[in-house]
């Protein structure tokens, strides 16, 4: 038992994670400087990873590894990237979280893990056509709060 997830949540997530197909990797960016939630975030994500052998975690210090942070365009901590395996390689779909994934963000995190694993997303056909027609980068930042 970890310290963030109680027994009830743990058993629920374990059931949901039986649906995981392709492996998932979570990259968490932390910093020793002025990051109140970095350690908690890393510990929480490790607990989540321990609930399925399909999920691995990599912890990266933003200040010591600016090259890796740059590769993922991570500028703030805690920063989370959720990768899914495609053709034997981990693929970055562009899914990020900034800040500790608690409350609503926690369920969004679990859902993102399931989706990068299944790689199945439903949209109406017009939306898919629009998204596939994009020629320039679109960066979406969705601000939320835990409650």
């Amino acid at each position: 038992m970890g310290s963030f997830l109680d027994e009830n949540i743990t058993s629920q997530i374990k059931v949901v994670f039986t649906k995981l197909t392709n492996p998932v990797e979570i990259v968490v960016f932390t910093s020793q400087k002025d990051c109140e939630y970095c350690e908690d975030t890393r510990a929480l994500l490790e607990e989540v990873c321990n609930l399925s052998d399909k999920i691995s975690i990599k912890s990266v210090d933003l200040d010591n590894k600016p090259d890796i942070a740059g590769e993922y365009h991570i500028t703030r901590t805690p920063g989370i990237v959720v990768l899914g395996q495609v053709d034997g390689k981990m693929k970055d779909f562009g899914i990020r979280f900034s800040g500790i994934p608690a409350g609503h963000e926690f369920s969004a995190l679990i859902q993102s893990i399931l989706t990068v694993s299944s790689q199945e997303v439903e949209f109406n056909p017009d939306t898919i056509e629009f998204l596939n027609s994009l020629k320039s980068p679109i960066h979406l930042e969705v601000f939320t709060t835990p409650t």
Binding site: T115, F123, P137, H139, L140, E141, V142, F143
Partner: protein, 67 residues
């Protein structure tokens, strides 16, 4: 799943970051986030306040692209 994350799954052009607003007050202030969810498109080129239905977010992204 967060709509923005689902869009990122479809298009390699889209990156989507779910930001915990209270942990990043400077950023929330910069974009004048007062209610959540609040979606910021391309560093403030577009905004969508409230839970955005799929077609409304698409419309907002289209507007940003026309600028």
């Amino acid at each position: 799943m967060v709509l923005a994350h689902r869009m990122a799954m479809i298009s390699s052009m889209v990156t989507a970051d779910a930001v915990e607003a209270t942990e990043f007050p400077e950023l929330s202030g910069k974009y004048r986030v007062s209610g959540v969810p609040h979606t910021v498109i391309n560093e403030g080129a577009g905004n969508m306040v409230g839970a955005a239905p799929e077609d409304m977010l698409v419309e907002e992204i289209r507007k940003v692209l026309k600028q």
